[in-house]
């Protein structure tokens, strides 16, 4: 596996060190770094100059132990190292832009990009915890035992529901990763309590016992399967299988989730006839949402 860097990233990262924001960088080294850097301004050709800066910044990136830190972290994931062709590190534009992505080429060549804010190198071990967490994501993606699929198979979900399902997937995966990291003696990105609070918010509709049970399974050091996570995100309340109207369930006519079910037992015969002409398999017991009732009443009046 090759490690490659975006030019902007290493320049900004070494400047974090040179500005005294990362502990363990001596003033003498900083002075030497600046002296070497100043000389490069004498190169007139812009491309040559740019290349020279890149090599100098890379040398100091190594000198200040930043590359060694990344290599050590990725070295903890032998499967990932064996599977990846290139791991590229780029500069993230902000906290929300940080993360790791896997790219699989035509012949199955796997490359990954890790986006990091250079400021993350300023002090503390937060950066190592975060990078390890992201490498765990990548490792799961290349691990056949996890069975990762890039597209979540979520049939019969509308775009809004798919987005919610993806957010649930991300949450469950993060919980599982941090649980495994803690089990292995590493510091997780978020604590068990923080994860549990987020999980309880996302699955507030479950009984407490079920919530505790699923969370414990995720937080245990066991590596889950991709399909297990998917089974928990698409329809956690089992509304698809409901035989009667449930708050938040989908209306059998328009398929939109609703909390406003109409009283279908009191529908006039002409309305029933009209609905059945369009939905022959629909039964009164399945119910309909308030919006559909309005629509069919308007049609009946017309």
């Amino acid at each position: 596996m090759q490690l490659r860097y975006d030019e902007d990233f290493i320049e900004a990262a070494v400047f974090v060190c040179a500005n005294g924001r990362r502990p363990g960088v001596s003033a003498l080294q900083v002075a030497r770094f600046h002296r070497q850097r100043e000389k490069l301004y004498l190169i007139l050709d812009p491309d040559e100059r740019s290349a020279a800066f890149f090599h100098l910044h890379l040398a100091w990136f190594r000198e200040w132990g930043l590359e060694e830190m990344l290599m050590r972290l990725v070295g903890d994931f032998p499967l990932l190292c064996g599977e990846l062709d290139v791991l590229a590190v780029r500069k993230a534009r902000g906290k929300t832009d940080e993360g790791a992505e896997l790219y699989v080429g035509e012949r199955g060549v796997k490359n990954a990009i890790l986006a990091l804010r250079p400021e993350a190198f300023a002090g503390g071990n937060g950066v190592t915890d975060y990078v390890r967490h992201e490498f765990m994501h990548l490792n799961d993606m290349v691990d056949p035992a996890f069975g990762y699929e890039p597209e979540l198979q979520l049939p019969r979900l509308n775009p809004a529901q798919q987005r919610i399902a993806r957010e649930r997937y991300r949450l469950l995966w993060d919980i599982s990763i941090d649980g495994r990291l803690q089990g292995a003696g590493h510091k997780p990105v978020a604590t068990r309590e923080q994860h549990f609070q987020a999980f309880a918010r996302a699955y507030a509709f479950w009984p407490v016992e079920r919530r505790d049970e699923v969370f414990e399974q995720l937080w245990s050091s066991r590596t889950p399967k991709h399909w297990e996570l998917v089974s928990l995100i698409a329809d956690p309340r089992g509304l698809r299988e409901a035989r009667r109207p449930e708050p938040g369930g989908s209306c059998p006519l328009c398929d939109f989730p609703t909390f406003q079910w109409a009283d279908s037992s009191a529908l006039r015969p002409e309305l029933l006839e009209r609905i059945r002409s369009e939905f022959p398999l629909w039964t009164v017991e399945q119910g309909l949402c308030g919006r559909c009732l309005e629509t069919y009443e308007a049609i009946a009046h017309a």
């Binding site: 902007d8 400047f15 005294g20 002075a31 902000g94």
Partner: protein
């Protein structure tokens, strides 16, 4: 550190270099009451100076919506917080305002230079207290545009009523147009380890020597107003150059006379007035009663420096927005705010005339005179008598050329009944 006199603080303060003053100082007044946030100034600057590769995030001129907006994000709040932490509870004003040497009283707190010694980097103590904004803070230059502040809310289902009532709006925001202040004691200059930043002796414009700059970014860290920018492809820092070729009179359209900057001349709201100020030996302004900037800053006292407590003696002055809660304005413009707003809301005869000079000509007005005209209005503004005289104000360039002649009342031209495009 040397001791230099900062008249905006009414006292001496520490600065890394000895005081040295230019023959004239580039200065400007922005009337925030007139700014409509149209960003014409921003684009005038962008299309003149910062349209090239590597300058994408450079906005030498920007207009931000206060209190939430800022470029980089929250630049002022962050520095005020750092100063407060460096000197808890001590960032206060006191003393009695007096003439040219202490028009706002005395600042008791610490400036960015005085508070810097507690911030130690690998090379020792910083020369100015500051911080280097991260990349995401430089994104979205007009973030929070038109977002108002207000701590009172309306009843459920109703808009909050009465938020617009003067003297202070309860729901408020205002536009703050900003360029480099070409400070008398620039923090960027103080912090540069290469001495690449200098203040021109002829007009006090602060420039970065591109041949000397080696991209340390210390200037970005030190400038309290965050008005220097790093250019990734040249690996040097750049900043507002005050359109110095125009100030030097080298723009052909000025006929050899010193001209105002592009951002000032493009301003459609006529909020800007630029000038060159002559200084005394101690850096205070030489008395020039009929110079419009001198009049606005030292006679009418309606124009105030932006965050004078930072200690760089900025040469940009602002007429504060009259509807904004005063504690916020006092923090931003110092203790002269109340007096400035009182004068501005019911301007006297001379002030009303001088306010007509804003944006009237692209050449720099050095001196004005007023020809008295008839009274055209008499009334009351918040219990104060207010009269309007249709005086004529005439502005002259440094060499005596008449460049502006305008009246207080906008002339009304009645179109003849029959003309070319009559129906």
């Amino acid at each position: 550190m040397s001791n230099v006199f900062n008249w905006q603080l009414g006292r001496e303060m520490e600065y890394p270099y000895e005081a040295a003053f230019p023959e004239q100082q580039f200065a400007f007044v922005f009337n925030t009451n007139r700014c409509i946030g149209c960003q014409t100034c921003t684009m005038a600057c962008k299309s003149t100076w910062t349209f090239s590769r590597g300058q994408e995030y450079m906005w030498w001129n920007n207009v931000e919506t206060k209190p939430y907006g800022g470029y980089p994000h929250h630049w002022d709040v962050r520095l005020l917080d750092m100063l407060e932490k460096a000197n808890p509870g001590g960032q206060t004003w006191g003393g009695t305002p007096e003439s040219l040497r202490a028009p706002y009283g005395t600042f008791n707190g610490k400036t960015v230079f005085e508070a810097a010694q507690t911030h130690i980097g690998p090379e020792g103590a910083n020369r100015a207290l500051g911080y280097l904004p991260a990349d995401d803070e430089w994104s979205a230059p007009n973030r929070y545009e038109d977002h108002p502040a207000g701590n009172e809310k309306g009843a459920k289902g109703e808009y909050f009523k009465g938020g617009e009532r003067l003297p202070e709006h309860k729901t408020w925001f205002f536009y703050l147009a900003r360029i480099c202040n070409h400070c008398t004691y620039p923090a960027c200059l103080a912090a540069c380890p290469r001495n690449a930043i200098y203040k021109r002796p002829e007009d006090g414009i602060v420039l970065i020597d591109q041949e000397r700059c080696r991209g340390y970014r210390k200037c970005m860290e030190a400038c309290p107003y965050k008005k220097t920018y790093y250019r990734g492809n040249t690996r040097t820092s750049e900043k507002c150059i005050a359109c110095y070729p125009r100030v030097e009179g080298r723009d052909p359209s000025g006929g050899g006379l010193p001209m105002i900057t592009r951002c000032m001349s493009a301003c459609i709201g006529h909020i800007r007035l630029q000038g060159l100020i002559e200084l005394n030996q101690d850096g205070t302004w030489k008395e020039a009663r009929n110079n419009p900037l001198y009049y606005l800053v030292h006679v009418a006292k309606v124009a105030l420096p932006l965050y004078p407590q930072f200690g760089t003696e900025p040469n940009g002055y602002y007429i504060p927005p009259r509807w904004v809660p005063r504690p916020y304005l006092r923090q931003m413009f110092g203790p002269g705010v109340d007096e400035a707003i009182e004068r501005y809301i019911a301007p006297d005869r001379e002030l009303l005339a001088v306010l007509q000079l804003f944006g009237k000509d692209e050449r720099i007005c050095d001196r004005y005179e007023i020809k008295e005209g008839p009274k055209v209005f008499e009334g009351e503004v918040r219990g104060k008598k207010f009269e309007i005289y249709n005086d004529t104000i005439i502005g002259y360039a440094k060499d005596g050329t008449k460049i502006i002649e305008t009246t207080v009342e906008e002339p009304v031209y009645v179109r003849p009944e029959r003309h070319a495009n009559s129906i």
